[in-house]
Structure formats: C-alpha cells, structure tokens
C-alpha cells in the first residue's frame, strides 16, 4: 500500500541512549559456545558494544529525559505540542498508554492527542506516517513522535541469537507542516501469516507469565531462553528481508519518480551488519551509502535504529544541509516499509546519553 504526503517535514531529531555500555566480550561467557565460535559470530555480524539500561529504567524515563532536554534548551515549547505519538513494544504498563503518562509527567495541555502504537522494526516509518496524517488536521500544527524500546530485560542473557544485538534507546522526532512545497512517498506492506517469526510468547492475555513460562529451555542451537523471553526465527527473518525489501525499495523509487543514484543515504533499520550489507548488494547501492554501524556501537534498538543512524552518521551535517534519504524498516509483524523524503537543514539533530 502506498502513501503520499505533501507539505510536511521533519524539523528535528534527538536520540537518547542509556549511558551504560556492555561489550560482546563481557557477555560471551554466558553462551553455550566456544570462544572461537562466538568471536567468529561477532566478526560476521558486526557485534561489539551496545547500550542497555540499568535495571528499573523504562521507556518513559528515556523519553522524559529527552523531552526535558528539548524544553530546557528551548528547542521545543510545551504549549506547541498538539500530539504525542509513542511507538513501542515495551510500554511501562499494559494500561494506561505510556504516552498519557508522559503527557501527565510533563504537565502538557489537555487539548491534545496522546497515542501509543505497537510496532517494532518498521515503527519509525509507521510513526512518521501517523504523524504526517495528523498534520492534515487544522488544529494540529506540531506532532512529537517518540520511538522507544527497552527490550534488553526481555532477552535471555544465554541466548546467543538475540542477546548480542539487542540495545535500548529512544528518539524524539518533531513533525510540522512545511512552508515550502514538499513531497514524501511511502510504501508499506504487512504479512500477519509471519507474525510469530519475531515474538515474546508469554506475558499477554493468551499466555500470562507464570512459573512455567519462566522455565529456561535449551533450543536446537544450544541457546537457553524461556517463554517470557524474546525469540526470533533468524532464518525466516533473513529470507523475508532479502526477498521482500529490495522490490519494495524499487517500488518506492518508481512512485517517487527518482533513481537510486539521487538518494544521498539509505538509512535502514539496523538488524546486524551482515544483513544490511547483503541488502545493499541486492538493491545495488554501495555499502557506504547505507550505514551499517549502529549495531556495533549501540545495539539494535528496534524502531529507534533509523533516527539513531541519522543522528550518529550525519547529525552534524544535517543541521546545515539538505539530504534526500531513503528510509526502510522491516521486521515484527511482519511489516516492511520504505519512505523517500527530503530532509534538512534541521533545527537540531543530536544524540544524548541518559
């Protein structure tokens, strides 16, 4: 399904990273594999450092820290916030929505919309789409899109499939109407038949947490995890991404009526370096136009990886320059999405530590 937005823009991006850094080697002893095999995995996937929260810190802590930073630095005014969208799969509570908690903590006006969206790896583009749609309403002039996930507590420390790559982070993206004409093109697809390729089996209504769901079980590859933990079918996800994402990218180019040479950067979701390099080769773009350095520096933080790839790789430049970007997020759902947009100069594009 295709979406088209006119006269909307991103005016600022802030990413918030936990200050606590963990290295691959710190946790290598947890895995049921020889050191040589784990180091081989590290080299192939590009694992190195990641940022995860200290116990007890949740997404509202990261989001509030970022919002207060923007308010304190006069980069955002409280009364200007007409909508607060939060994309997450690790809310503070099942009810109420975490976006309402954040609104309350900041003391924002009641004449506004708060909305939580349950989306993962494609959640940056889904959030942008929702924000751009809201900006068609006359009373909504400014949307604050928050992407935040703290999934590290949901991953087994003895799971070499998922633990080395998971990272926690949050981002805040400001969306507004644009005075100059803009055109944003987006393509998105979903396949719920693959919904269980990426999953946390227990903790929802179908399978509440219990002593049984907490039992650690060894899988066929020697990883230990329980039903309370995140589980990923790596082979299915790999094949899904390599098969579905390249045609979607070509489709969005066709819709936007551009060629891939006109794109300055391909800012894609960051599952791991291996998958991104394969993807770059398959789409036919040079690997240095598609940064794949987020997992090795910060870990994979679900829907935050795209804004993080922007702040980390071109944060300084984009405050003064204009770029044409192709964004793409793919994963949980299964969902795959792509967007072509013009961006910059931004009022701010920074990352800060919590």
């Amino acid at each position: 399904m295709n979406f088209h937005f006119t006269n909307k823009k991103i005016s600022g991006i802030l990413t918030i990273l936990p200050g606590n850094e963990v290295t691959f080697e710190d946790e290598m002893g947890n895995y049921n594999f020889s050191e040589a095999k784990s180091l081989k995995l590290k080299a192939a996937m590009g694992f190195n450092k990641k940022r995860i929260v200290k116990p007890g810190i949740t997404i509202s802590d990261l989001c509030l820290y970022g919002l207060n930073y923007l308010l304190d630095h006069n980069l955002l005014q409280k009364e200007d916030i007409d909508a607060l969208i939060l994309v997450t799969q690790s809310p503070d509570y099942i009810m109420p929505p975490t976006s309402n908690i954040i609104q309350g903590a900041l003391g924002l006006k009641s004449d506004m919309l708060c909305m939580d969206i349950n989306q993962g790896c494609a959640g940056y583009i889904v959030g942008l789409m929702q924000g751009f749609m809201l900006l068609d309403q006359p009373e909504i002039k400014k949307v604050v899109l928050m992407n935040a996930d703290v999934l590290s507590p949901k991953v087994s420390k003895r799971d070499r499939n998922s633990n080395p790559l998971i990272g926690d982070a949050a981002s805040i993206t400001i969306l507004e109407r644009s005075n100059i004409a803009t055109s944003i093109t987006c393509a998105l697809k979903m396949n719920g038949q693959g919904a269980f390729a990426l999953q946390i089996p227990a903790g929802g209504a179908k399978l509440p947490n219990s002593p049984e769901t907490a039992e650690m079980i060894e899988d066929a590859n020697g990883n230990y995890r329980s039903k309370d933990h995140l589980v990923m079918k790596g082979d299915e996800v790999f094949n899904f991404v390599q098969t579905e994402v390249p045609p979607l990218i070509h489709e969005v180019f066709k819709l936007a009526n551009i060629t891939k040479e006109e794109i300055d950067y391909f800012m894609f979701h960051q599952p791991n370096r291996f998958m991104l390099q394969k993807l770059a080769d398959k789409i036919g773009v040079s690997r240095d136009k598609m940064p794949s350095n987020i997992v090795e520096n910060f870990g994979n933080s679900s829907s935050v990886t795209i804004p993080l790839a922007i702040t980390f790789n071109i944060g300084n430049e984009i405050e003064n320059k204009h770029y044409k970007l192709c964004l793409s997020g793919f994963g949980v759902g299964l969902t795959w999405s792509a967007m072509v947009l013009d961006i910059g100069p931004l009022e701010f594009c920074k990352q800060i530590d919590y």
Binding site: F33, K37, K40, L41, R160, N221, Q242, F274
Partner: protein, 71 residues
Amino acid sequence: MENFLNQMAELLEVDSVNPQDEIISFDAWDSLTSLSIIAMADDEYSVNISAQEILNAKTIIGLYQFIQSKK
C-alpha cells in the same frame, strides 16, 4: 556441483568437502554457518531455504539436490 563443493568447503572452514559428508559433522558447524548457507543459497541460486531444511538434507549432496529442486 564443483562450485557448490567449493562454497561449502569455505563456509565449513575446510580445504575440501565430499558430497557424502554430513553437514553438521564439521567442527565449524553452528547457527552462523547455517545462516551463511542460507545467504549463499539466496545469493548464488536465488533460492530461499530454512535452517530446518539444511538439517533435513543431512549431507552436502543432499543439500545440493534440494537447492536444485527449488530452483
């Protein structure tokens, strides 16, 4: 087939492999090798295979024949 044997030898980190060799019998075998084989099947043969299908194929020749059957 020759080309496939060379690719498998490289992924399994040995000088050469025999068609009858069991895939999981190699020292280098683990879930990363499995993913590397899946990526190779996609790159070289444009075929999607799963981790379970590699295990089901058992031997190098079994996997070769399976990939050919899916082309």
